[in-house]
């Protein structure tokens, strides 16, 4: 189908706002079933890179490939919209601020897209919602509106909503950063469960412990470039770059 050997392949990603370069020629490969964490100080471009994968923040240069198909290929506007909507169905995304639809119950949040895009019947969609909400431990809140859920519960529903489209890839953009500390674990637990099911995941996070325990690979980004990349045992325990050491020192000191 293509010359792409990797499940997710980012080639020479560039992003600039005017003269401000946010991403400077970043390349990244992720294999099927891998879990990659992206860490780095705020403003390092890690969220921008993540959001480029499903074209939420379109790149100004470079290519993104997913499962043999180029995500950001050049097409006339209408065709591109169609293509990108189709691509996004395969990429689940979880946001820092949950972004649940407040006018819909947990069930409706989960069923809306499958009913609209996959033409699922009400009964099929209900079954799907029950499965997915059960998976994230939210079955008992299925008919609650988001306003009546805690942050951790909202984020779990948001994960169920993303999973309902049966994505090949899940993107987590600081999924636990907005949560009270005691609510972080319930979300991490769900993410661990996904990891055990070999879901391919790219996770932007500030949680070093979590990254160390579930990820196959860690990228440390700073000022729009990947400074260091490797298995968590190396990046966290024996970083080779001074910049990485400095960041980890500050971050771990701050966290403790």
């Amino acid at each position: 189908m293509s010359d792409q050997d990797h499940f997710v392949e980012i080639r020479y990603a560039q992003k600039s706002y005017g003269s401000l370069e946010v991403l400077k020629d970043i390349s990244l490969n992720v294999e099927r079933g891998q879990i990659v964490a992206i860490i780095g100080p705020s403003g390092s471009g890690k969220s921008t890179l993540l959001r480029a994968i499903n074209d939420l923040d379109p790149l100004t240069g470079g290519e993104v490939w997913l499962d043999g198909v180029q995500v950001n290929k050049s097409l006339p506007h209408r065709q591109y919209e169609k293509h990108i909507n189709e691509m996004r169905q395969h990429v689940g995304m979880v946001f820092q601020h949950f972004n649940l639809f407040p006018h819909m119950t947990a069930r409706e949040n989960v069923t809306m897209a499958p009913m609209l895009l996959k033409r699922l019947s009400k009964a099929e969609a209900d079954k799907l919602a029950e499965e997915q909400l059960d998976k994230v431990g939210m079955l008992d809140r299925i008919d609650y509106y988001p306003s009546r859920l805690s942050g951790g519960q909202k984020q779990r529903v948001a994960i169920a909503r993303a999973l309902a489209m049966e994505p090949k890839l899940m993107l987590f953009d600081e999924a636990t950063s907005a949560l009270d500390p005691e609510l972080v674990d319930e979300v991490n637990l769900v993410m661990k469960k996904l990891a055990e099911e070999h879901m391919t995941m790219i996770i932007v996070t500030h949680e070093m412990d979590f990254a160390a325990s579930v990820c196959d690979r860690v990228l440390f980004m700073d000022q729009g470039v990947v400074v260091e990349e490797g298995p968590p045992s190396v990046v966290f325990k024996n970083p080779t770059k001074e910049r990485t050491r400095e960041f980890l020192r500050k971050h771990l000191a701050g966290a403790a």
Binding site: F95, N99, L117, A162
Partner: protein, 218 residues
């Protein structure tokens, strides 16, 4: 000579018929102004310049000129270019578009104040921009503007009296007809006022119910 309401029952049939016309016209115009308001808002915010311009003109005409003049234009003016509308249809269109423009202003502001994460979340599950607007953004925007739109609808009901001048036998004109037959203006205008007030109360009741239903999901 004092007030004598004993003349009222004999003409109550014409008053009630006028009441029915007022309710029908106000309801139809309210629906037109609501959905028209959403459509105008989407056009104003999301379509290219060239499509927006004709709607700018409509907006300017309906906001910048008296409603009475607009009704004359639609009923008497359009005939000259071959569009001969029944008076009640002209009335519904005039009232509906007039208030659609005002509703559109409210809805535009509300759409812009919906958190942009909502659009992003809808797009990331694969919805097109149109689908995201329809399913996620507009329903939230509309919830935010139910109270001010409700106020506009009460103004619409009161302004519906203006369609009497193009000959629709709604409540005000019916009262005038009864007055013509009895020479009792005070009594019949008071009766008409009472009916307007009653319809208003019903509208407020409906609005409160809608608001209460919506508040459950907040």
């Amino acid at each position: 000579m004092g007030l004598d309401f004993t003349v009222v029952p004999g003409h109550l049939d014409i008053i009630l018929l006028g009441c029915a016309w007022t309710i029908g016209i106000a309801l139809a115009a309210a629906l037109l102004s609501f959905f028209g308001g959403i459509i105008f808002a989407v056009i104003a915010l999301y379509t290219p310049w060239i499509i927006r311009q004709p709607f700018r003109l409509i907006e300017w005409v309906f906001m910048g000129t008296p409603l009475l003049l607009q009704l004359f234009l639609i009923y008497f003016g359009l005939v000259q270019i071959g569009i001969d509308l029944p008076a009640f249809v002209a009335g519904i269109i005039g009232l509906g578009l007039h208030f659609a423009v005002y509703n559109s202003e409210l809805i535009q502001t509300a759409i812009l104040s919906v958190d942009k994460g909502q659009m992003e979340a809808a797009r990331t599950v694969g919805l097109s921009r149109g689908q995201a607007l329809r399913k996620v953004v507009i329903p939230q925007a509309v919830r935010d503007v139910i109270p001010p739109i409700g106020n506009n609808m009460i103004a619409l009901l009161k302004d519906s009296a203006l369609v009497s001048v193009i000959g629709v036998s709604e409540l005000t004109l019916s009262a005038q007809r009864a007055i013509g037959a009895t020479y009792r203006p005070f009594e019949f205008y008071l009766v008409a006022a009472m009916f307007y007030y009653a319809i208003n109360l019903c509208m407020e009741w409906v609005q409160r119910r809608i608001e209460r239903r919506i508040s459950i999901s907040r």
